[in-house]
């Protein structure tokens, strides 16, 4: 799966967790999920669960620690898909 394809699938998942004052157009590859998109850090675990369901993969604790930006998430997903 290309990173563009992953982004297309990932974007609506992230959108669900955006606070009211952030719109989905603001989701970019380099966006920091908590610092820039203002997502409540408690919700990162929920995003990971949704991603796991959508891509049929499983994150390790270390993967979650590395996931700061949208691009990080795409990279982790891509790796997981390749090693499937």
């Amino acid at each position: 799966m290309t990173s563009e394809e992953i982004f297309t699938q990932l974007s609506p998942i992230i959108t669900l967790y955006l606070p009211e004052d952030v719109t989905k157009d603001q989701i970019e590859l380099q966006s920091d999920l908590t610092a820039q998109l203002n997502i409540n850090s408690a919700h990162l675990v929920d995003i990971v669960l949704d991603v796991e369901d959508a891509f049929d993969i499983e994150f390790a604790n270390e993967d979650m620690e590395k996931m700061r930006t949208v691009a990080d998430a795409i990279q982790i997903i891509q790796k997981k898909l390749e090693s499937k």
């Binding site: 669900l16 967790y17 009211e20 004052d21 408690a42 919700h43 675990v45 929920d46 669960l49």
Partner: protein
């Protein structure tokens, strides 16, 4: 000088009415909210009826965002938030905006018996399946006892004490008195007080096993809850939430808020499970002390009371409750005040009962009526020996209620009694 405390907002989610206007109409008419519960039947319960508020998906979205509703499975929090936010709006108080300071003088006491039992069950299944990480971020906030207060606080921006009390079926009445105390002592100006009770088999199962809920009316749900009746055979489980905004008189007048009633005072105590008191039965001496102390704090006499909103659950203890009222107020026969029990229409909303019933009390004062006692055409003979049948209206009557008393008694032998005065 002691601050005076008034009620400036009401909210309610009850089995027979969601929101104050619908609930007001229901209690005037004696409309029952008790229905057959197929889930209880499927699980082999003896009692298969219950009181459950009906809330559409659209209605939920008036209070919660899509994100908040994701993996949301706690009907106690749902009812509590709806009632609490209705009371806030009714009081004409706006929530703090996100970039504003918290409302430092507004606090919350919102009581529960349990929180998110359905959510807890769901979590336990995942855990036992070795999927602890699948709980995500939603399990803790929905199952912590203070979940409902925390949700409300986030929506309102409350900056004073935000807490949850728990005193079994006395919870709701106790919450009002806790908020009252905080305003009297000058530590808060506005306190959103209420309580919420969850529904469903996992909450009600223990009561079914104890045989304290009725199994005799599964085929006629609206007749099942029979407080004061000779054929009362146990309570009907119910659920829901009530809320009221308590506020210092000073603040309410300054804002030009509508004042529904004044909280004159009250009392909370326990029978210590001594004498005739136990884990499940009240110590009559403590009940009477609680009522007497409430009268004393409110600086009124038993003879001043116009109306009692009873605890009256439809168990064998109803006659004893009436006897305790007679002795505590020093009144009996035709001299007894009006009394009724909301539980005939809603079932016993457990932790939610005190606050839902307190809302019904204020509405009767405000609109000058006493709602009908339903399902007690056959009054218990022990009760009619103590008080005149005229004191127990079977249909809705017009009445000026200047002083009303609400009391609740709970497992653990705990009592709470609050006194309201019409504004």
């Amino acid at each position: 000088m002691k601050k005076r405390v008034v009620i400036t907002g009401l909210g309610v989610v009850a089995p027979n009415g969601v929101g104050v206007p619908e609930f007001l109409e229901a209690i005037r008419k004696g409309t029952s909210g008790i229905t057959f519960q197929p889930k209880l039947e499927a699980l082999g319960f003896s009692c298969q009826v219950g009181g459950v508020p009906i809330i559409s998906e659209d209605k939920k979205r008036e209070y919660f965002t899509e994100l908040q509703l994701r993996n949301f499975n706690s009907n106690g929090i749902l009812y509590g938030v709806m009632a609490g936010m209705e009371a806030l709006a009714d009081a004409g108080i706006s929530a703090a905006k996100n970039d504003e300071q918290a409302l430092w003088d507004l606090g919350i006491v919102f009581g529960v018996a349990t929180s998110g039992v359905e959510k807890f069950r769901e979590s336990i299944y995942k855990l036992d399946d070795k999927k602890v990480r699948r709980l995500g971020s939603t399990a803790v906030v929905q199952t912590m006892a203070s979940g409902v207060s925390a949700y409300l606080s986030g929506m309102i921006g409350a900056g004073n004490s935000v807490t949850t009390n728990s005193a079994a079926c006395a919870t709701g009445t106790e919450a009002i008195l806790m908020g009252y105390d905080r305003i009297v002592s000058g530590k808060a100006t506005q306190m959103l007080c209420g309580s919420t009770g969850e529904d469903g088999p996992y909450i009600w199962g223990g009561f079914d096993a104890m045989k304290v809920i009725t199994y005799k009316h599964n085929d006629e749900p609206t007749k099942a809850s029979r407080p004061l009746s000779a054929t009362a055979s146990g309570f009907v489980p119910g659920s829901g939430a009530g809320a009221m905004m308590l506020e210092s008189l000073e603040s309410a007048e300054k804002r030009g808020a509508t004042i529904y009633a004044e909280v004159l005072g009250g009392s909370v105590n326990s029978g210590g499970q001594r004498n005739d008191g136990s884990m499940t039965a009240p110590n009559s001496q403590a009940v009477k002390r609680c009522i007497s102390e409430a009268l004393a704090e409110a600086k009124i006499q038993g003879s001043d009371v116009d109306y009692i909103n009873g605890h009256l659950t439809a168990t064998v203890k109803d006659p004893l409750e009436i006897e305790n009222w007679c002795e505590a107020l020093g009144r009996r026969g035709t001299n007894f005040p009006f009394i009724n029990s909301l539980k005939a229409m809603t079932g016993h909303c457990l932790a939610g009962s005190g606050s839902v019933e307190a809302v019904s009390t204020i509405l009767q004062m405000r609109h000058s009526f006493v709602f009908p006692n339903v399902n007690c055409e056959d009054l218990h003979p022990e009760i009619t020996k103590l008080i005149d049948t005229e004191c127990i209206p079977l249909s809705c009557i017009k009445a000026d209620i200047n002083i009303a008393v609400k009391a609740s008694f709970g497992f653990g032998d705990v009592n709470a009694c609050v006194i309201f005065k019409k504004n």
